[in-house]
């Protein structure tokens, strides 16, 4: 049995990391949320259990739970501080959220999946 004296170390660093939006996980029993633009953030789509429920066709048979992923994309260049302001504004509007995930582009490529 060989003994490995060195562990392989690899990195995959990206040069350009750009904040482009936020995925918000909203909890509500009032159905599909509706949002006006909040500062520089505009709601692009909403999914439930991974299936897009806004905009577009939604099967009347679709099972929905009270937890929505709401994707907000920035309409201009934004910084982390803009996200803090956005979260504060969203909470003040009465939205209850379980988590927020910043969306970044890495060297120009989206680091986040689309919804089905």
């Amino acid at each position: 049995m060989p003994t490995f004296t060195e562990t392989a170390k690899a990195t995959k660093k990206k040069k350009d990391i750009k904040l482009v939006g936020v995925d918000m996980y909203i909890i509500t029993d009032k159905g599909i949320p509706k949002f006006d633009d909040i500062g520089p953030f505009k709601c692009e789509f909403i999914s439930n259990r991974g299936t897009k429920v806004w905009p577009g066709f939604v099967s009347p048979d679709l099972l929905q739970v009270n937890w929505y992923r709401c994707r907000f994309m920035a309409t201009k260049d934004v910084q982390d501080a803009d996200v803090n302001t956005f979260l504060d504004a969203l909470s003040k509007k009465g939205w209850w959220w379980s988590a927020a995930q910043k969306l970044w582009n890495y060297d120009g490529e989206a680091g986040f999946s689309k919804a089905y």
Partner: protein, 338 residues
């Protein structure tokens, strides 16, 4: 002839169209009255519609509520959404029913395998929630919900009851994933209380894999979350003869789509070489779904007879017959028995 059924036919791409024509030949000869409406799906749609699943196809399936689908291929890493996953999402086809039953003439090292897998089809790691949370770290959310888990378990027990099945096991990894798989298992146990006549239990997924290859006859019905279901249903297909004979159905409350689970084998496209049996047995499942038991049984009996004779079978089971010649042999066998 009895009631006419209107069914959406989705030939897919690669070898899909020639397979579906062979299957249609057999089904139409079985005495059942089906009006087929053809729609596009798969890679060939990209150039024409810019999507793997055109709206026109979705609308037709929504109208007919039942479809028979040939194989399609999802391009890897191109950003195109899988047509199969999109269909499941759009129509909320939450139950993937995958029977694994020994076909008598295919020599396998087992005496008996007759398992029905019920794979939850819409949740788990397939919720398409993935992020690069740093430039070196990717994350995928595993989404398991109580309503989603409850309804697949209830579907499985209902199916089992209606088809005289005796035992259902829930497959999970709740010893490690206590929240997600734990929720799935809790919902299963809650549902099981409603069906005291059916034996129920649970088994950890890794042990289940080992038990399946050692002694598959011990299993009757399995209920699985999406990812384990994806893997174990192919394992079960391998036990009984491979994907070439593996049927599948994706079922929701308002719609059912029946399909083979193998790929589209584009290198064989147009050669009429491939075995259409997987789509054919999916078609047999569809006929039973439509209440056409007599036609389903007629096709099944003729197919087994043709396979048993081995005179008109495809290359994968040791023959030289073309796809359509195999189908015609099944038709001839049905007519000979009539």
């Amino acid at each position: 002839m009895g009631k006419q059924h209107v069914v959406t036919m989705l030939p897919g791409e690669g070898t899909g169209p020639e397979i579906c024509e062979a299957v249609r030949l057999v089904i139409d000869a079985s005495g059942v009255d089906i009006q087929w409406e053809y729609e596009d799906i798969g890679l060939d749609c990209l150039e024409k519609y810019g999507t793997l699943l055109p709206d026109k196809t979705i609308q037709n399936i929504a109208k007919n509520k039942v479809a028979l689908k040939g194989p399609t291929t999802t391009p890897i890493g191109t950003g195109h959404k899988s047509a199969n996953v999109t269909l499941r999402k759009v129509f909320d086809l939450y139950a993937n029913v995958r029977p694994a039953k020994l076909i008598p003439v295919l020599k396998r090292p087992w005496d008996k395998i007759d398992i029905i897998n019920f794979r939850e089809n819409t949740e788990d790691c397939y919720a398409a929630i993935e992020h690069m949370v740093s430039d070196e770290v990717a994350q995928c959310l595993k989404v398991i919900t109580w309503p989603g888990s409850y309804r697949i378990a209830d579907f499985a027990f209902k199916w089992a009851k209606a088809n005289g099945r005796k035992k259902i096991y829930c497959v999970h990894k709740a010893n490690i994933m206590k929240m997600t798989d734990g929720l799935f298992l809790d919902a299963f146990r809650e549902v099981a209380k409603k069906y005291p006549d059916i034996e129920s239990g649970d088994i950890i997924v890794d042990n289940c894999c080992m038990q399946l290859v050692r002694n598959p006859a011990q299993f009757d019905c399995l209920v699985l979350p999406n990812l384990y279901g994806d893997i174990l249903t192919d394992l079960c297909a391998g036990l009984v003869g491979g994907l070439g004979f593996a049927p599948g159905a994706n079922v929701g409350d308002g719609c059912a789509i029946f399909e083979a689970v193998h790929g589209s084998a584009p290198k064989y496209a147009g050669m009429k070489k491939v075995n259409p049996s997987a789509v054919l047995v999916s078609g047999i499942m569809m006929l039973r779904w439509l209440g056409e038991e007599a036609a389903a049984a007629r096709i099944e009996k003729a197919m087994f007879a043709v396979l048993d004779e081995r005179k008109h079978v495809t290359y994968d089971v040791g023959g030289t017959a073309k796809t359509d010649e195999y189908a015609q042999a099944i038709v001839d066998k049905m007519h000979a028995k009539a």
